[in-house]
């Protein structure tokens, strides 16, 4: 059975996304000025994921890392839209085992409580309808719950595969204290929380040996350590009094590093680990952990990483995402991240977000010819020079 692959996402009337559609690959990088709509895209995918596989309310959105705001904000409010559209509309198309599927839904935003209502939802396989309901045709159904995972018409395994793939989506925003295990993750999902909680345990799962070789997931430990250039080794263990200040609260397990510049090569320490190292471990754990979501988003991929490290991690991370048949959506402000992307690989796609005159977000895939890339024109420079778009206009 071939692997699940997203084909197209359409979002209408959600925040500043008045009418946006794009064709994602496996690694999808969004660049654009602040306020250009990058984060709204990640959030809209969160709503779509919740709508398709669960329900849309405060709790389900929170679980996906969709920032909460008043219901009115979820719906586009533009003066230029004369007759305000009644519903927020989403659709997602994917390919699985040789067939093309599409899920579509129309929702109304909450008025009195916090639950979005399903106005209509439908599923097609190879263009033929396999499921559909609308407010008018089936008023007796619960209009606060999505039917994709409960309809009998969709009980075949390909639908549960798709539901699992899309339903596990979350927006990760790692935070240093949570990564260090000194504060608990407010949104602890399995295996890693949206803020990086329980990273140590996830790393533990990934550390193993294959014959003579120490491995981190599918990576040789030495390749992994190349990304953390100050460390000669790392492991996960119970905190010992000797390495931690007793005043520092920790979760159960901590990540310990061996500093290659320290004389005492026997000692591991967790609390002093650099932010960059923790972020690298976090990204790659998400990419490789078998229990981590197949589809997820990272807001500000470059956060806390030195530009060159961010470039290298972008490269390794993309490779792992593709190997694992995952789908990731990420945003970045760091030009060097782009240089870590092999755009000649169609699975890796770069998008710009801009606002048009009406304030509506426009998303465009950017492609750069092999010829231009070979002519010493790195993507970072093209971005900075403005030819890719996705830059603030007036700075």
């Amino acid at each position: 059975m071939s692997e699940m692959k997203l084909k197209k996402i359409t979002i209408q009337n959600f925040k500043s996304l008045y009418d946006v559609s794009f064709e994602p690959g496996r690694v999808n990088v969004f660049i654009g000025a602040n306020g250009s709509g990058k984060s709204s895209i990640l959030e809209a995918i969160g709503v779509l994921s919740a709508a398709m596989t669960d329900r849309v309310n405060t709790v389900s959105l929170q679980r996906k890392g969709v920032r909460l705001s008043t219901s009115a904000l979820y719906k586009s409010k533009f003066l230029s839209i004369e007759k305000e559209s009644k519903t927020v509309d989403f659709s997602v198309g994917w390919k699985l085992a040789g067939h093309d599927y599409e899920y579509m839904n129309h929702m109304t935003v909450p008025v009195d409580d916090d639950s979005w209502k399903y106005f209509a939802e439908s599923v097609t396989c190879d263009g033929a309808s396999v499921y559909g309901r609308s407010n008018r045709s089936s008023a007796q159904l619960n209009n606060k719950i999505g039917y994709f995972t409960i309809s009998e018409a969709l009980s075949a395994s390909e639908y549960s595969t798709a539901a699992k793939y899309i339903g596990d989506y979350g927006i990760y925003q790692p935070d240093t204290l949570t990564l260090r295990g000194t504060v608990a993750d407010p949104i602890q999902t399995n295996p890693i929380g949206l803020n990086g909680g329980r990273l140590a345990e996830a790393i533990q799962d990934l550390l193993h040996e294959e014959g003579e070789d120490a491995m981190f997931g599918s990576m040789f430990m030495e390749d992994m350590l190349e990304l953390i250039d100050w460390a000669s080794d790392f492991k996960v263990g119970k905190p010992k009094k000797t390495i931690l200040n007793p005043g520092v609260p920790t979760t159960q397990e901590i990540i310990e590093f061996r500093d290659k510049y320290l004389k005492d090569t026997a000692s591991f320490t967790g609390y002093d680990a650099s932010e960059g190292a923790l972020y690298v471990l976090f990204m790659l754990s998400l990419a490789m952990h078998e229990k981590a979501p197949k589809m997820f988003a990272i807001d500000s991929f470059d956060h806390a990483m030195n530009p060159r490290l961010a470039r290298k991690v972008a490269e390794v991370f993309s490779r792992k995402i593709i190997e694992e048949n995952k789908t990731v959506f990420m945003t970045t402000h760091n030009p060097l991240v782009l240089d870590g992307l092999d755009l000649s690989n169609d699975d890796i796609r770069l998008f710009t977000t801009d606002r048009n005159k009406q304030g509506h977000v426009e998303v465009r895939r950017v492609q750069v010819s092999e010829k231009l890339l070979k002519m010493n024109q790195p993507l970072s420079r093209l971005w900075i020079n403005g030819v890719l778009g996705g830059v603030p206009e007036l700075l």
Partner: protein, 243 residues
């Protein structure tokens, strides 16, 4: 599909005016890429007229940039204010009447003599006729020298005279011969605290103010092209490269 237009301009306020005007001429909303001033903290090309000139010199192949990226750039519009002709010595470095032992050796902006204020050019330069058309032609040829290897089918140069500000004045006040009027920003627009009810800070051209000005320039574009030869030329050029 929207047309994609790269703008190489002296500053953000010129960018705003060009955007509004080109939308007006083409009759639709286009997508604009600010190529210069470079939106980068390093300011590699610098701002203003020097930045524009340097961009033209250092961009190896505009044709390549336009074709090898998708969505591709349909046209590039390059802007330099006409006042550069009367104010700046470097743009006369290669002129007939200039006598300088560095002439033809260094790119004028990198000339050592200019760097230590020893440029022998005397202003006004006597190599050109007086008047707006000569001013425009000269700056155009200065930039075209750097674009020798480019296919100009989709590249236009615009030289607002005396500056883009003159178009603003033409739009609001409909003055004849406004192009001959030097420094319209200081002497007309920023003379008082308000210009046609819009708050103006004399020392700084704010983009918010210019957002309003550029709307007016587009709205009154017919008047602007009647009063300004430089605007009329831009209209023709936009039609040539985009329509």
């Amino acid at each position: 599909m929207k047309k994609v237009i790269g703008i190489v301009s002296e500053g953000p306020t010129d960018y705003l005016v060009l955007k509004a005007v080109i939308d007006k001429i083409t009759g639709k909303e286009n997508r604009y890429l600010p190529l210069q001033p470079e939106p980068d903290m390093l300011g590699r090309y610098g701002n203003g007229w020097k930045g524009v000139w340097r961009w033209c010199k250092e961009t190896e192949s505009m044709g390549m940039l336009m074709q090898e990226i998708q969505p591709s750039i349909d046209a590039i519009v390059i802007q330099m204010d006409g006042d550069v002709v009367r104010k700046e010595k470097e743009v006369h470095c290669r002129c007939e009447t200039t006598v300088c032992d560095e002439k033809g050796k260094a790119f004028p902006l990198y000339c050592d003599k200019a760097a230590v204020s020893k440029c022998p050019v005397e202003l006004p330069c006597l190599s050109h006729d007086e008047g707006i058309p000569a001013m425009i032609d000269h700056l155009k040829s200065v930039l075209e020298t750097e674009l020798e290897n480019e296919d100009m089918a989709h590249i236009a140069i615009t030289i607002p005279c005396d500056s883009t500000d003159a178009w603003v004045v033409a739009a609001y006040d409909g003055l004849d011969d406004i192009e001959m009027f030097q420094d319209p920003w200081d002497r007309i627009i920023a003379k008082g605290k308000y210009y046609h009810g819009i708050r103006v800070r004399g020392n700084k051209k704010s983009t918010n103010t210019y957002q309003l000005f550029s709307g007016k320039v587009a709205e009154c574009w017919n008047t602007v092209t009647e009063k300004c030869r430089s605007a009329e030329i831009l209209e023709k050029e936009v039609r040539r490269i985009l329509m």
